[in-house]
Symmetry: C2
Subunit: 150 residues, 2 copies
DNA sequence: GTCCCTGCAAACTTTTTGCATGAAA
DNA sequence: TTTCATGCAAAAAGTTTGCAGGGAC
């Protein structure tokens, strides 16, 4: 039986393959963006109604630790997660409304941004002896709708 | 009597000048980085022991809305705030440890980053009709200490 | 068989809200 | 004098933890 990239990571870091972990990964794989923990939990319940919320939290935290997923905080009070490498969605950054918390993904200037990010990352890794796993770029402002509704 | 830049912003947006707002601004001005709400509250209590935590939350949220301060979420479960323009601290970005939540400020490649950010910001403002107020760049990874303590 | 992982419930932390009082304009 | 803002307390929301039973290897 074939082991997938994420199973390799799990085993490589000394963890076991369990049903909840498979369910959470499947949900992340088939979704294209930033689900909240609650979102993931609700989807997981439909697959296995006995899964616990605490397990979902623990699983997502584990995935972030071993680099399978990224944790995002957009300032709306809930953590969100996204696969580190999602075949359904290219690398992108975010535009966030500080009023209504809407999130818009963008990928303009990605090539230039990534070139600069790679360079910066290399320098920072070296200088601070950090093992950098990912980065985020967020622009905060007020969206069209919120500007109009004053 | 002279009105300061932040007072102008307050009045301009139709808000009143109150003691708690002055206290919070003073704390932000004299500190150079990302204080948590609790940090700010504790400092405020020393100046005026009757100030309420809820007021600090409301004040900081207001400051973020009108562009006086920036709200940051580093993934440690608490919001942090920093002045938008702090004379004591140049523009910088962040390196965050996903294990111990340590935050390191950096300002390498700032000139290049800012040039690219300005360009991106202009394009995004236009394209999405967003009024962009600020941006953040975060690198996430594992710090030297956490790597060593496995 | 051993040790890790899970589900459940309770606890904890951070943030928000309602409301009567008090202060700014 | 009219609103707006505050302080307090209670509630809500999100996340973490302890523990006993069950499952992966």
């Amino acid at each position: 039986m074939l082991t997938t990239w994420w199973q390799n990571r799990l085993f490589g870091a000394g963890y076991r393959l369990t049903a909840p972990r498979e369910i959470v990964i499947d949900i992340l794989i088939e979704t294209d963006n930033h689900l909240s923990v609650e979102d993931i939990y609700v989807k997981a319940l439909k697959i296995n109604p006995s899964i616990g919320l605490a397990t979902v939290y623990r699983t997502l935290d584990l995935f972030a630790q071993i680099g399978i997923a990224q944790k995002f905080d957009f300032g709306d009070g809930k953590a969100r997660y996204e696969l580190t490498d999602n075949p359904k969605k290219d690398h992108h950054h975010h535009l966030i409304c500080i009023r209504c918390k809407a999130i818009i993904d963008y990928s303009d200037f990605m090539k230039e941004e990534l070139r600069l990010m790679d360079k910066t990352q290399a320098a920072l890794s070296q200088k601070h002896q950090f093992k950098i796993m990912h980065h985020t770029i967020h622009f905060y402002g007020i969206c069209e709708k919120c500007r109009k509704s004053h």
